[in-house]
Symmetry: C2
Subunit: 406 residues, 2 copies
């Protein structure tokens, strides 16, 4: 497997576009990803009871459509809490895309991000779809344009692609995502589109994605607020020419590994670019009895406001980390826990068997001052582990989310 | 039932003291509550797996001791994550108190709040206990001194007392509490002591407390970080002279009602004085099918960073409230939800049947600018309800928890 340039247009047979349609004031606000041939589609979606219209639509498409061919996305308006009118607008957006591309409406995924409670400006959307269809191209730059068009308070666009071999054929996976940002009054948040030219059955494609997100996108948190619009879509169009993967063989494992590389990369970029974030925080929990324990504890640490503010202050506040571990809902022995911090500036053991080591606060502060900081907790109870990614908690988080009007 | 002045010394037969022992730099740091006669003791404690030494001790006392007679408390050091040495120090603190008061060590509750991972300065504690025993008095002012001595980043002390009648006898319940604050690097957090002169069986006293906290202290949140030291202790010494309550009769109900008044008052004061808070946020969920649904949803709203920053910004960001309801883990129909906000400046319906009403943003901002703000969500699915209390999320929260060194 090798990391390559590009995003959603990296794999064979995918075109993309990202344009300014007029939903937002100045920045690009609509994107399209198109497969030149029908592709298998898989998706994972928000668990929030309050689901945006595009999420409801995509869940139906994922379940019922044997093939999909396009993903149309907009930023600026989330189309959530918009009632029947919102569902109608979503359908009109999908239909306009189908018409522009001359495909079935059941082959169109939709995704929206932006303000909750506002209706889509459907005439602008319809015009935007036409522009997208005219503008879409296969080159890498057009993938980047699409990645840029779905940004909200993201400070940079997020793409990743890798190349790997399946049965002697070169296969590519590429993706784009947007992170937790809400320059607008209400959240809408995470969207991701991953494309591949792999040939694989729809069932295994979905299974690979569902399993993958447990360890990637579901392991990041900026502010614990699970949005109404979270969607991750995966398209596989088979143009790599490999024999279709129909069972969990070595090829399937190679695909899962490559998919994991792309989604991990996008997840980490999303965490590092969380609202107001000044650094990426990676938390690893090792020595757990079962994997779920490691997952729960690492997520509990990564979401603690007290841990996040301490990391912002470059403060080795290990008591807050142990405290967050303690309320994770997992049974472990706090009296045998070891805790380390690590960055490019070094590694330091802060806690041994539940109590402070004789560490230097200055060294700890130097380590925590890096742009990427790791914490590792060893439960010493087994061999399972998990990694979660988050970011620190700064004044700017409050500023972005309280002062948006000023 | 009537609200009266005072706190832990309001009921008959309780003495208290609050002094500067030398654990903290300048402020009072040790407190004592003493019952002149043996009292029944009840307690509820943190669910955190990482439990401070005093919490472990108090859980044992609550279970095994038929009577208790004193609560000794210190601020400045939490005695959490301190290993065997911490447990020994806690025992020495209890023993010193028992010696000074000439009571059994099994009749002494301990409570600590402050820095995690630091050992108690046991010599200072021992001297402090002597001073406390000499200084304790029955008057209201000495109750206040005790309430002040357990403060950390609290900006004011928290007391409440009520008088009510049981079988023709006047009974008093009074209490003190400290809130979520950590001027020190690590959290330790909530402590509460409630005293009453009621005569009641130990079993019913514990049951009343355990049931009560579900609707009071367990319904507040400042930052979702469940501490290692949370303790609420309740002493009942029987000096009111009522016939001992041994069953869930009208007297028991009167007691529960009065207890609820005191604990609700203390809980609200704690939420309003959360770190960096500029206002109290009360969230009521009505129309739930079952009570637990209302509890989960109201707590989900009260703990959302996005809701809290919006309230800080006086912004009627109802989408964030619906979003937080949606990820509470409760099944409800978002398309029929109504949502109101209310304060002394008026009441406004923001959402009807899941969609925005045509409300005035200016009116909404005016309502949210008050010092106490209420939000009420009606699920329209049943008759159960719950209320939770929290506070807004300001720059000062980040400042207190990131910049404590400066």
């Amino acid at each position: 497997m090798k990391k390559i340039e590009g995003g959603v247009t990296a794999a064979k047979g995918y075109k993309a576009a990202g344009i300014y349609a007029g939903i937002k004031k100045k920045r690009k606000d609509m994107a399209l990803v198109y497969s030149t041939v029908p592709a298998k589609g898989a998706g994972t979606f928000t668990t929030n009871v309050v689901k945006a219209a595009p999420v409801k639509w995509d869940m139906k498409i994922t379940k019922k459509s044997p093939y999909v061919q396009a993903v149309v996305l907009n930023s600026g308006v989330a189309n959530a809490c918009t009632g029947e009118e919102g569902e109608t607008n979503n359908l009109l957006m999908a239909q306009a895309t189908a018409d522009a591309l001359d495909i079935s409406v059941d082959a169109v995924y939709t995704a929206s991000t932006g303000v909750i409670g506002k209706q889509l400006p459907i005439d602008i959307i319809k015009e935007g779809v036409k522009l997208l269809a005219e503008d879409m191209k296969e080159d890498i730059d057009h993938g980047t344009l699409a990645a840029e068009a779905i940004m909200t308070t993201d400070t940079y666009s997020k793409e990743c692609a890798v190349r790997f071999m399946v049965g002697g054929k070169e296969v590519i996976i590429g993706g784009m995502a947007k992170g937790s940002g809400m320059i607008h009054p209400n959240m809408a948040t995470m969207l991701g589109v991953v494309t591949t030219d792999l040939a694989i059955s729809k069932e295994l494609l979905q299974e690979a994605l569902s399993e993958d997100v447990k360890h990637t996108f579901n392991m990041i948190s900026v502010d614990r607020d699970t949005s109404t619009n979270d969607s991750l879509l995966l398209l596989a169009n088979g143009l790599a020419g490999n024999d279709e993967i129909k069972e969990k063989n070595e090829d399937y494992k190679a695909f899962c590994e490559a998919l994991n590389y792309v989604t991990t990369d996008l997840s980490k970029k999303m965490a590092a670019d969380g609202e107001g974030a000044t650094k990426l925080l990676e938390v690893q929990v090792i020595g757990a009895k079962i994997k779920d324990d490691a997952i729960l504890i690492s997520k509990s640490i990564i979401t603690s406001n007290l841990v996040k503010t301490a990391v912002f202050g470059n403060d080795a506040n290990w008591g807050r980390i142990l405290c967050a571990m303690g309320y994770a809902g997992v049974d472990f022995d706090p009296d045998i826990v070891d805790l380390y911090i690590e960055s490019i500036d070094g590694k330091l053991k802060l806690v041994e068997n539940g109590m402070a080591t004789n560490y230097s606060e200055e060294t700890a502060t130097r380590i925590l001052s890096a742009k990427e900081v790791k914490a590792c907790a060893d439960l010493k109870m087994g061999t399972e582990s998990a990694t979660a990614w988050g970011c620190d908690f700064s004044y700017d988080y409050v500023k972005i989310n309280a002062d948006y009007r000023s």
